[in-house]
Symmetry: D2
Subunit: 129 residues, 4 copies
């Protein structure tokens, strides 16, 4: 799945390019949109007392994005189980082949009540099928 | 009261200066440190079910701060009552007279339980004296 | 002119709502999109050596936006001259009347070469007509 | 080398903990402070036309930091050559043994004039010895 993102002025730094931390935020935006297409609403998960903390993130930066670029973020579900979700990400300028940034994230599920690792309820897991 | 702040690389934008939104964040840092010196711990307030949402903020920008600048943030309590807190802020480079940015914030108090405006309990208000 | 914005997870703070500094960033997003519709490309201005620093910003917060809300940002050109641009902003949830946040910004124009205030070239000013 | 960091309100998200992207920003703060202690001033490097883009970043999150926590960031130079710098990072609460977050970054050097990879001048490299 792919979504488009516009680079904002506030995303840039004094090197004139997107600050590297912002791609990590965009990966999150991608996850949320991917899950929305499956019918998974993260507010509903939070209301059900399920949190989904990130436990690992990686990014490789090949070329910088610049202010006002229109980017295409590809979200690739790599491993979605009841105990963790792993996604990969590729960011390109819209309509171009060249990859600017590649990324990875892993999150687990925890109970808001206990703070402990928990398994994703069937109600949500079934939507990933 | 004054605190010192260092400008981080990630605070800058492609104009090579601090993005204007970041001063608004530093005002918050200043408020927290000011309240700490009075013995007011915002985590304790949150645990007591008291929230303190910002209802107005203003900033005037005279000169830009740059990466790695050491800044001095002056926090001026302007009007601290049981229903609202108003602060003013002045940001200078450490050791300089010239004001780079001036600001203002007003926050009220709300009950986390009801979401409604509430009065600050005496327990906290007495520390402002 | 109105644009829609989605509230990201990373826009929220521990009060469970959008951090107040982020609306200031969204005002900027709105300005950029407004200018785009007039045919004004800020990258072109920067390449022409014209910077457009913010000299004043204000925001009033009436009700908080929350994670995943779809917001509507109204951008109102209030005073656009060759020496300054003033915009007003109103943020609502998409499809609702109630205003969550109201804002204001003023920017001037400076020469990247001299750092001094400059007048907006006719090339750009004429597009505002 | 270790530096202390305070968690700001604006660093948190609606899970009540620090947003995972902010640790990536703090790694940068740590690099800057580490280089300062060696006498390397990044503004001087920029003025010399040397940029230092991040090409890879990783983070593993074991436990969350919370608002107002005082953190200790350990910066570990892992591989500092004329073509790349690799750092590792460990974040703990000040005075505690338990690691909250571990990280890694790699940056290269590029010429601002050509945009191409360049070797770090001896002037800077000699300070790493």
């Amino acid at each position: 799945m792919k979504i488009n993102l516009r680079v904002h002025f506030y995303d840039t730094d004094l090197m004139g390019v997107v600050h590297h931390s912002n791609y990590i935020r965009w990966f999150e935006t991608g996850r949320v949109e991917f899950l929305r297409t499956l019918g998974i609403d993260l507010n509903e998960m939070i209301n059900d007392g399920i949190l989904f903390p990130i436990v690992e993130v990686q990014a490789k930066y090949f070329e910088p994005a610049k202010f006002d670029d229109e980017l295409e973020l590809e979200i690739i579900p790599a491993n979605l189980t009841k105990v963790k979700w792993e996604f990969e990400y590729k960011i390109r300028r819209a309509g171009e082949e060249k990859i600017l940034v590649e990324g990875f994230s892993r999150n687990v599920f925890t109970s808001a009540a206990t703070g402990k690792i928990s398994r994703l309820p069937e109600k949500y897991f079934s939507k990933l099928a």
